[in-house]
C-alpha cells in the first residue's frame, strides 16, 4: 500500500521533534535534513515544518549535472549519491523550497530522502513517527481523501498542494486555513 507524507501545517507546535528524529534516522549521520520555520516571526508563534516535498519533476535532480540525485521507485527523491555528487550546489539553487543542505567539509549535498530505508518497507519516516501533534502523518491516498471530506471549505477548494505548489509533489501539504481564508472543523 503506497503511503504519502502528509503535512497538516496548522497543528505544528514548534517542538522540533521532527528535527531531532531526523538526526536519529539510519544513514543520516546525526544531521537533520528538514526545517521548522516561524511563519510570522515577531508577530505570532505559529511554526511550520518543511521537509522535501519529493516533487514528481524535481528541479534539484533535473539540475544536477552528475545525476547524483535519483528518484526512487516509491517517488522519493533521494539524497545525493556520495560517489556521484560533485558539490556544485546547483540543486540548492534550483530547489524552490530551499531544501537541499550542503556539507562544506565533505563537499556533498544532503537532503531529505524520506527515510528511504524505512518508507520503502512501509515504515513511517522518523519525523512522522515522532510528531506529537500529528502535523506530520504517514497516510494512504484513501486516508488523505477522507481528510479532505472533514474540511468545511467555503470556497470549495481543497488545498493539499492544490492543484500543486510549484509542481506536483509526492508529499501532500495542507496549508493553514488562515492563509486560505477558510475554517477548519477541528
Amino acid at each position: 500500500m503506497k503511503k504519502r507524507l502528509y503535512l497538516e501545517l496548522e497543528n505544528c507546535i514548534g517542538c522540533r521533534s521532527c528535527l531531532a528524529a531526523c538526526t536519529q534516522c539510519g544513514g543520516h549521520e546525526e544531521r537533520n535534513r528538514n526545517y521548522v520555520y516561524d511563519v510570522n516571526p515577531l508577530v505570532n508563534r505559529q511554526t511550520m515544518p518543511l521537509m522535501c516535498l519529493h516533487c514528481e519533476n524535481p528541479a534539484c535532480a533535473r539540475s544536477c549535472p552528475a545525476q547524483a540525485i535519483q528518484i526512487h521507485e516509491t517517488g522519493a527523491v533521494l539524497s545525493a549519491l556520495v560517489e556521484k555528487c560533485i558539490g556544485c550546489q546547483n540543486c540548492t539553487i534550483a530547489c524552490p523550497y530551499g531544501i537541499p543542505k550542503f556539507d562544506q567539509e565533505q563537499n556533498i549535498m544532503y537532503k531529505c530522502d524520506l527515510c528511504i530505508d524505512r518508507t520503502k518497507d512501509g515504515i513511517p519516516p522518523m519525523c512522522a513517527s515522532v510528531c506529537p501533534s500529528n502535523t506530520l502523518q504517514w497516510l494512504t491516498d484513501e486516508e488523505i481523501d477522507n481528510k479532505k471530506k472533514q474540511f468545511n471549505l467555503d470556497n470549495g477548494k481543497w488545498v493539499t498542494s492544490m492543484p500543486y505548489l510549484e509542481g506536483e509533489t509526492n508529499v501532500k501539504v495542507n496549508l493553514p486555513g488562515i492563509l486560505q481564508g477558510i475554517t477548519k472543523l477541528f
Binding site: E56, N57, P58, A61, R62, C64, Q67, I69, Q70, I71, H72, E73, L78, E83, K84, P163, Y164, E166, G167, E168
Partner: protein
C-alpha cells in the same frame, strides 16, 4: 495556476542523463571506467606468476643440477669424434665432442637461429647447421658465420671411471 508548465520538455531518460534510480545504467561512464581499471587489475594479477618465474631464475634457482647422465664410454669416443645424446630431457638433443685427450665439450645442438640440428664436421673443425649454413666455434659455442647470433647453450660434462657424464646446462648469458 493550472497553466503552469509542469511537463518535462523532452525525454531525459538517456545514456547521459537519467535520474530514475531503477533505470540506472549497468555500464554508464563510471561503470565503463571501473571495468577498464578492473580489467587492468586482472591482467596485472594474472601476470604475477611470470614475475615469480623470473625471480626464481634471477635468484639462481635456475642453476639446477640434473641427474647425471652417462653419455658414452671414453674408450668408445676417439679424439676428434662426436656423439649425440639427450640432455637434460628426452627431447633435448645435444652433442658431445672430444677435442683432445682430456678435453670434452658438449652443447645443446639446436641451432639458435631456427633450431635445426647442428652437427660436428671433423675435417673442418667446425659445428655446422645445414639449414642456413650457420657455423659455431667448437671451443665456446659462439656463432662464427651464418644467421645465428647467439651461442649454443653449453652442457658441462665430467669424466668419471672411464665414462663421460653430462652434469648441467649452463645458463644462457645474453
Amino acid at each position: 495556476m493550472s497553466d503552469k508548465n509542469n511537463k518535462i520538455p523532452f525525454n531525459e531518460d538517456n545514456y547521459t542523463h537519467n535520474i530514475e534510480r531503477n533505470n540506472e545504467r549497468k555500464l554508464d561512464r563510471r561503470g565503463f571506467m571501473k571495468t577498464l581499471v578492473g580489467a587492468a587489475g586482472v591482467f596485472a594479477v594474472s601476470s604475477l606468476p611470470w614475475g615469480a618465474v623470473a625471480a626464481k631464475e634471477l635468484m639462481g634457482l635456475g642453476e639446477k643440477e640434473y641427474p647425471h647422465k652417462k653419455i658414452t664410454d671414453v674408450s668408445k669416443l676417439p679424439i676428434g669424434d662426436a656423439v649425440e645424446f639427450k640432455f637434460p630431457g628426452d627431447h633435448d638433443d645435444a652433442i658431445l665432442i672430444r677435442l683432445s685427450d682430456n678435453k670434452y665439450v658438449a652443447y645443446q645442438n639446436a641451432c639458435t637461429h631456427l633450431r635445426c640440428p647442428v652437427f660436428w664436421v671433423k675435417e673442418q673443425g667446425e659445428m655446422i647447421c645445414p639449414c642456413h649454413h650457420g657455423k659455431f666455434d667448437v671451443e665456446t659455442g659462439a656463432p662464427t658465420a651464418g644467421p645465428p647470433r647467439r651461442p649454443l647453450p653449453e652442457i658441462q660434462v665430467k669424466v668419471e671411471n672411464g665414462a663421460v657424464y653430462a652434469v648441467r646446462v649452463k645458463r644462457y648469458e645474453a
